[in-house]
Symmetry: C2
Subunit: 206 residues, 2 copies
Amino acid sequence: MMLTMSTEQLSPTSFLVLGLLAREGPSTPYELKRHVAETLGVIWSFPHALLYAEPPRLVAQGLATEDHELTGRRRRTFSITDEGIESLQAWLERPARESTELRDVGLLQLLFANVGSRDARHQIATDQLSIHRGKLAGFEQSETTEVLKGRPVPANDKPQQWRGQALRMGVLYERAAVDFWEGVSLGVAAEEAATVRSGREDVTHG
Amino acid sequence: MMLTMSTEQLSPTSFLVLGLLAREGPSTPYELKRHVAETLGVIWSFPHALLYAEPPRLVAQGLATEDHELTGRRRRTFSITDEGIESLQAWLERPARESTELRDVGLLQLLFANVGSRDARHQIATDQLSIHRGKLAGFEQSETTEVLKGRPVPANDKPQQWRGQALRMGVLYERAAVDFWEGVSLGVAAEEAATVRSGREDVTHG
DNA sequence: GGGTACATGTAATCAGTTACATGATTTA
DNA sequence: TAAATCATGTAACTGATTACATGTACCC
């Protein structure tokens, strides 16, 4: 007899939920949502509806079990099964070949910024700068302060450490993004200066 | 009288196609695919089926027109309409509030790496390092060399410039990623060393 | 003249997104 | 007790992914 055919159509979302169930123990979708919001969610958004939809799928595949509260809020608590853990571990051993998806509509706009007005370019750069600066400020404290300082990574609390890592990547990315958009801003400013010097004041095209 | 109600349900994919049609002129889906592969595609993947499916949607909304070749390959060539250009420009003026989606399954694995073996952690870090180093090498030349050196951005060729920008962000990101995963590698190595020192040689050592 | 890589497209499925809707707690 | 916010879910739609499938050009 064969073991399981599981791990067949599991998505990143599936492994996110499996991983959380494995690490945090039995959880309701709302608790999953909370944990995601604190960690991966800051760089890779998972709408809460997903975290309600995914656990039942796992149950259908025998990777989790459900416990439905009968009173009050009628919460649904999900737990990972042994198969679930196996599946998760098998996935951890399997090298991820895909490289990062860096989906950024600001970048997409920049790509075609020449079709818009010079003013639009200016606006795009400004908006993006404030977005990325905001993000950076946001978790430069929550990460550095909370994870690295508040708790000096007690070496035996590995889970914490690995979790902090994910946020560190976010910080690195946001720093790069701020640098990048500052450069773009300078470019736009230079462009404006050049236009003014050369006396042209045609509004619509760059 | 109102102008148009367009720009209502357009996705990033829509604007990608509109932008390419605006910049490159009438194109077949295959040509779109080529252009995407050269630029945004390296950091934000758009499967080719998307680029076949999107143009007809734009046609249905009056943002593009189709010209179907009757002989040989029966190519379908799409052109942007005036409404399409308006829609694109309106979108460029509209600030993008969403921040970057940084979807990386390597990071997701790292997040739960403590559930796996130490060996798995090592493997993850190694794999990711080679992926990101590969990407970096890949377009550190294609970008820096081709865009910045080969053609010294002749100031009047703005489109080129803006396109190059998108790739520059990719380079910055990959550099950050390499730094990050090098750090993780060190962490894993330290963990291994610590385990060896403390004499435990459990698990997978045959 | 057969293989192989490029070119071109379609179909089915399903995850993901958006929107809606309401229940429970807290606070003013 | 009203308002606000947190908590909990479901339903519909559709874009995205995957898989399939065939045509055309080129090269050995």
